[in-house]
């Protein structure tokens, strides 16, 4: 039994393990460099350092729904459930980054804005994005039929993708307390390298988590399918032999 599972589902391949460790090492390097080599901001002091986590997390939570959307469309076109599992994996990872964005933003806001939270367009649309991640996962958890689950997921992916665009544009379209996107022109060169390195590091971590989660999702799906097969053919000693 064990032997057959190991044959069908090989343990994590070497390249993925190496990629994971590489991503972690690069993340640590980027964080340490970002925190140690940049001077304190003239207004915020060392509070500025939280941006090396907040901004990359926010990017990942926006990219997350774009990834879900692309795989959702691929599923609808190709009718291959592997794309649906990839979308679901991206949703789980994206939800974590969306939560991290809200938490780090709130911690930064209290000493800067003087409030933990306020309902401006950026914060509200970001809270909606987080709810859409949660909603996507809740819907999946409660939908048994995998074809219907994949279709509904793809539909929510469209809404979430639109909302991620609203989150990004909110500070340009509406008057908000949240500042506009910084550009290299508004950031002193002393901070730029740390920002860029951390965004790349977060991308690697994001990719590693999505790939790993997808591998698990495939195993779970196949095992569930086998259990169902066994249940349908209770007398067969070994269906897959």
């Amino acid at each position: 039994m064990n032997a057959s599972i190991e044959r069908d589902y090989p343990l994590t391949p070497r390249w993925l393990t190496l990629f994971g460790w590489g991503a972690l090492a690069f993340l640590l390097l980027s964080q340490v460099l970002g925190v140690l080599t940049s001077p304190p901001d003239r207004d915020m002091g060392d509070l500025q350092k939280i941006m090396y986590v907040h901004v990359p997390s926010a990017f990942m939570s926006l990219i997350g729904y774009a990834v879900i959307f692309v795989f959702g469309i691929l599923y609808l076109v190709k009718r291959d459930l592997r794309y649906d599992l990839l979308a679901a994996s991206a949703a789980q990872v994206g939800a974590v980054f969306a939560a991290a964005t809200l938490v780090t933003g709130s911690i930064w806001a209290r000493p800067t804005w003087n409030v933990w939270w306020t309902w401006d367009a950026r914060l509200t649309s970001m809270a909606v994005l987080f709810l859409m991640y949660v909603g996507y996962l809740v819907l999946r958890a409660f939908t048994e039929d995998e074809i219907r689950r994949a279709r509904w997921s793809a539909a929510i992916a469209g809404l979430g993708f639109i909302n991620s665009g609203i989150v990004y544009m909110s500070v340009k379209w509406w008057r908000t307390i949240h500042q506009m996107q910084s550009t290299p022109g508004t950031i002193d060169p002393a901070y730029v390298r740390g920002f860029r390195m951390n965004i790349i590091a977060f991308l690697f971590v994001f990719a590693y988590f999505v790939i790993s989660r997808y591998r698990v999702a495939r195993v779970v799906r196949d095992v569930e399918a086998r259990i169902e097969e066994r249940a349908l053919a209770p007398n067969a000693e070994n269906v897959h032999a």
Partner: protein
Amino acid sequence: MKGSKKLGLLAGLIILLGGFGYLVYGGIGNNLVYFLTPTELEAKGASAIGAPVRLGGQVVPGSVTWNAAALDLRFRMTDGKNVVEVHAQKAPPQMFREGMGVVVEGKMQKNGVFDASSLMVKHSNEYRPPTKGHRPEEMYRSLVRDQK
């Protein structure tokens, strides 16, 4: 098992839709215009008096008077065209300083002074190291100390 799952789905959907409804109608509905500028408040004239609003602008340099003993803060706020006098029975927030963008919540009074019940500071999208001799961490500490 099947029934409880259905019930859970229903509860989840209700919570989700309720949350969306609140955000869309309670949150965004009032807040697409998150704050008024002094010019927009001026344009409302007498109808603005007594109505709770958010007002945003820049703290006019040299206009701040802060009496720590009486917990009395007064400053002028501008959007470059009009100026509004603001009064708050609050300690200035840590980032509050002259020339900074601020958003205050409160009501315009009959005497033309805006009575603020809360103060928020808007930070720009700029990140700059301090100029020579300027120690932000010291300034930060002194601000925290002043509040106590």
